[in-house]
């Protein structure tokens, strides 16, 4: 960790926040000044471990000891008689109670295979098939809006080709790089060690010592509890929290300025929890807590603009309904989308619940999708930013004319 500073200083390209330099005119004509931020969780968020269907009779059977419940040591936070929120997300829970958060469950993009890259491609491009376009739906939505004027022209220098796909396209993009990135995640480390073990044992053993320290970090201190070990154990989770919060604060700072960009996107990696998922204490709990911290940082940083804000948290697909053989979950289908922000008519769960009975699972393994994520995004784009219907079905989400925007999310 001595080298932390040096690592952070290795700035090579562009980073996490992308935003537009134009104000949406139609919404402003109504006296609103809407903000919209998309947070993409890459790696496939386990929606069932984030918002657990505690009222479903099959829930505990599927997840066993890993099932979130509303009692016990790590009790989930109830949001209605059926769903409960992961205990790592008290801020989201508070916002939900204050009608400033909305949960969409059993939601999915039109993608039905199980490749991350292709899934992310569909999620961010807005097309029904991967590899269809090099532009993202958020950008095309913006490009279709009549602009009231350019804001913050001084930041145009940061325009870069490396924005997340969802933001790429004809509308001009500002890019901002967070001053520091977290070190490689334990997940990346363990994937690499696994690769080395099968191909190059010498490289594997060279990396393993450090990995052993990191494993303590995520699993909670076991064995060596000397001061030095404790110090090492704290840092990775803290680095993730700091990175999420810092990115969110910067996004809020830019977007809350009178002349700041109104629409943006952030991407957070690390959600591919195949082994030792740790929904209540462990990797997923750390990530969800970091996400909850980011939401809090957005609320604080937006200040007065919070009342005009919608933040959408989306992911490429969900994870298997059952726990797998390594205390994790594999690639699935439906998941949750989280909406937060002062502009929402929140405190509601949108879920046409498919049930978790064997016969109700997709392919006998995944939560079945009953809501199209495009309907949700279209609802926000239409009612919050005033993107016109004909654009939504054609340019923004091509081939989605039959899917109506979900009404009543904002207002």
């Amino acid at each position: 960790m001595i080298h932390q500073t040096n690592r952070r200083e290795l700035l090579l390209g562009s980073g996490a926040l992308f935003a537009w330099a134009y104000l949406p005119r139609l919404a402003q004509a109504e006296g609103r000044d809407p903000r919209f931020l998309v947070i993409v969780l890459r790696g496939a968020l386990d929606g069932l471990a984030t918002v657990a269907p505690v009222g479903d009779p099959d829930w505990q059977r599927l997840r066993g000891e890993n099932a979130l419940t509303i009692d016990g040591a790590a009790a989930a936070l109830p949001i209605d008689s059926f769903f409960a929120l992961n205990p790592a997300m008290p801020n989201l829970h508070r916002l939900y109670k204050a009608s400033q958060a909305t949960i969409i469950h059993a939601v999915a993009t039109p993608y039905r295979e199980r490749s991350h890259f292709d899934g992310q491609d569909v999620l961010e491009s807005g097309f029904t098939h991967p590899g269809s376009a090099d532009t993202g739906w958020l950008n095309r939505a913006l490009a279709g809006l009549p602009a009231a004027g350019r804001v913050n022209p001084k930041q145009a220098f940061a325009v870069g080709p490396i924005a997340p796909l969802v933001t790429r396209g004809p509308a001009p993009v500002l890019a901002w790089t967070p001053p520091r990135l977290p070190p490689a995640s334990n997940d990346t480390m363990s994937r690499l060690i696994d690769l080395y073990r099968h191909t190059d044992p010498a490289l594997a053993s060279a990396l393993e010592e450090r990995s052993a320290l990191s494993a303590i970090a995520v699993g909670g201190a076991m064995g060596d509890t000397s001061k030095k070990a404790e110090m090492v154990t704290v840092i990775p989770g803290a680095a993730v929290r700091a990175y999420f919060a810092e990115s969110a604060s910067a996004a809020a700072k830019f977007m809350s300025r009178p002349d700041g960009p109104r629409v943006g996107a952030l991407a957070f990696d690390g959600w591919d929890t195949h082994a030792n998922e740790g929904a209540t204490k462990g990797r997923l709990a750390v990530l969800l807590a970091a996400l909850d911290g980011a939401i809090n940082a957005l609320e604080t940083g937006m200040g007065d603009s919070w009342k005009d804000s919608v933040i959408a948290v989306i992911t490429e697909f969900g994870r298997t309904a059952r726990i797998n053989g390594t205390e994790g979950t594999d690639h699935g289908t439906a998941t949750v989308a989280l909406l937060v922000g002062g502009a929402l008519k929140g405190g509601r769960v949108f879920a046409d619940w498919p049930g978790l009975k064997e016969a109700n699972l997709r392919d006998g393994r995944d939560l079945k999708p009953t809501t199209d994520l495009r309907a949700v995004m279209k609802g926000i784009l239409k009612d919050h930013l005033r993107v016109e219907d004909h654009l939504l079905g054609k340019d923004v989400f091509p081939g989605s004319q039959a899917i109506s925007p979900l009404a009543g999310l904002v207002g």
């Binding site: 080298h3 040096n6 690592r7 200083e9 290795l10 700035l11 090579l12 390209g13 562009s14 980073g15 890459r42 790696g43 496939a44 490749s115 991350h116 890259f117 992310q120 080709p161 490396i162 924005a163 997340p164 796909l165 790089t177 990135l181 070190p183 490689a184 995640s185 997940d187 990346t188 480390m189 994937r191 690499l192 696994d194 690769l195 080395y196 099968h198 191909t199 190059d200 010498a202 490289l203 060279a206 990396l207 450090r210 991407a267 990696d269 690390g270 959600w271 591919d272």
Partner: protein, 482 residues
């Protein structure tokens, strides 16, 4: 059988490209074909190793600019001190016991001077070197430049050397990478950067004009390292007397003091007033005193020696092929070196055509700087600022032109194993910043072709994001080893 042969040739071509060159740049569409011809063609290009950049200073210009810069800073410091003294005196005379305001003013007024001129020159040169490597075709010639630069290494941390590092490489190494070893040897050992680094600039013959007048004398550093590291190799039969006598012969190989000459300051000079007179015996031969020619004659003898040929052959083979290379390969290269009187283009061709160099499995770990540059090439990153790259090299233990000792950075893979975890962090940062704009699976197929293992391919395909896949690619055994 025929099919297997064909596949083996394809794999061999990929292995050879990575072994001798650098991975293909992002967007290079040619599939890896006849690597031998491509490598050989790069050697045959005229001025293959030269950097074309008119903005870079010669070593003389750099030394004079650094000297002027130091003088100006010194003058500015003296002026500030004089002013302080005057103010203190005034305050005393005015009877005021408060000298705080003056101190505060000085603290507030002290601007951050930024990197000094020597560092600025160092950064400019680093950038030019990086850009050359990123633009290189197969990268074989750059790899040879790095090899020779490490063989004849210097350190920016030695007094006066920092502004000269880049010029040294451009003036003494690059022109001869596809030329004669003896020319490179002469250029190196008479270059101001080397004369400063190994102390010969101030080595004085005890019986020279200067030696008799002053109580200063011989410094054996350069003479010893020429024999031990640059030519014959350690324990090849030379004695302490040979070292001492050789050191005497090259007394007077020095530098024009910048304060003496605004035109030629910082450049090489043979100073007869420092030169030890007389005939000296070095490794079995007597060398008459013919001034500079006396030392030159010894260097030419050393360049022709079978021990030198063997030393260079072993270093080349262990740098490019294996930590412990096949004896037959070393013999082959050594013979070529002697047969061609040290023609480095021919020796390099012998290296890339040797069957041993083609058959060996990729076992060598890429050295850190090589790995960083390779990563930048495949990701298509052209860093606008060279400093983060230099910091990454520092972090991985191979700071540019800053060797810890005159034997250079290790060519043994084991020496670099410990840095693997740091490499992962750097790979992670690079990948996060390139974001999801690249397709790591396609890149892997382009740069490794038939060499790409199923395990690596699977790991990339299963990664949770493109950026994670890219980090895994940069860390994969295929990318680490050559």
């Amino acid at each position: 059988m025929g099919l297997k042969m064909a596949r083996d040739t394809r794999v061999q071509n990929v292995v050879a490209l990575h072994r001798f060159g650098l991975p293909p740049k992002l967007g290079s569409t040619d599939s890896i074909g006849d690597t031998r011809s491509a490598l050989s063609a790069e050697l045959d290009k005229p001025d293959a190793a030269q950097i074309k950049n008119n903005d870079l200073l010669s070593s003389g210009e750099a030394a004079r600019a650094a000297f002027d810069f130091r003088q100006e800073r010194k003058a500015a410091r003296l002026a500030v001190r004089a002013q302080d003294e005057a103010e203190k005196q005034q305050a005393k005379e005015a009877g005021s016991s408060e000298d705080k305001p003056s101190a505060q003013r000085n603290n507030a007024a002290k601007p951050n001077p930024g990197p000094g001129l020597p560092q600025q020159i160092y950064l400019e040169e680093s950038k030019a070197r990086l850009e050359t490597a990123l633009a290189a075709d197969t990268g074989f010639v750059e790899r040879l430049v790095w090899f020779w630069s490490n063989h004849f290494c210097i350190s920016a941390d030695k007094g006066g050397v920092r502004p000269l590092c880049g010029a040294y490489e451009r003036e003494a190494i690059r022109p001869h990478v596809t030329g004669k070893f003896s020319d490179m040897l002469l250029a190196v050992e008479s270059h101001p950067a080397m004369l400063l680094y190994l102390d010969n600039a101030r080595s004085i013959g005890p019986n020279s004009f200067a030696g008799l007048r002053r109580d200063k004398g011989l410094n054996e550093n350069l003479a010893r390292e020429i024999l031990e590291l640059h030519t014959l190799g350690v324990r090849t039969g030379y004695s302490q007397d040979d070292v001492t006598n050789f050191a005497k012969v090259i007394t007077g190989w020095s530098i024009v003091p910048p304060r003496q000459s605004p035109e030629r300051g910082g450049e090489f000079t043979f100073n007869p007033r420092m030169h030890e007179p007389g005939t000296h015996r070095v490794i079995g031969y007597d060398y008459e005193d013919r001034g500079f020619e006396q030392g030159r004659a010894i260097l030419l003898t050393l360049a022709r020696s079978p021990a030198t040929a063997n030393h260079i052959a072993l270093k080349l083979a262990s740098h490019f092929v294996a930590d412990d290379p096949p004896r037959s390969l070393v013999t082959r290269l050594s013979a070529r070196f002697l047969d061609t009187k040290g023609d480095l283009k021919e020796v390099s061709k012998a290296l890339i055509t040797a069957p041993e160099a083609w058959d060996a499995n990729p076992t060598k770990l890429r050295r850190p700087s090589d790995w960083i540059i390779s990563a930048l090439r495949v990701c298509g990153i052209k860093p606008p600022d060279v400093r983060p790259i230099l910091q990454a090299q520092n972090l991985l233990g191979e700071p540019l032109w800053r060797v810890p000792a005159p034997n250079g950075f290790s060519d043994n893979s084991a020496a670099w194993m410990d840095g693997l975890a740091q490499r992962l962090d750097i790979a992670n940062q690079m990948s996060r910043r390139v974001g999801d704009s690249l397709d790591p699976v396609v890149i892997a197929q382009n740069i490794f072709g038939a060499l790409l293992s199923n395990e690596t391919k699977e790991a990339l395909g299963r990664a949770e994001s493109r950026s994670q896949a890219l980090a895994l690619l940069l860390m994969s055994p295929e990318f680490q080893r050559r």
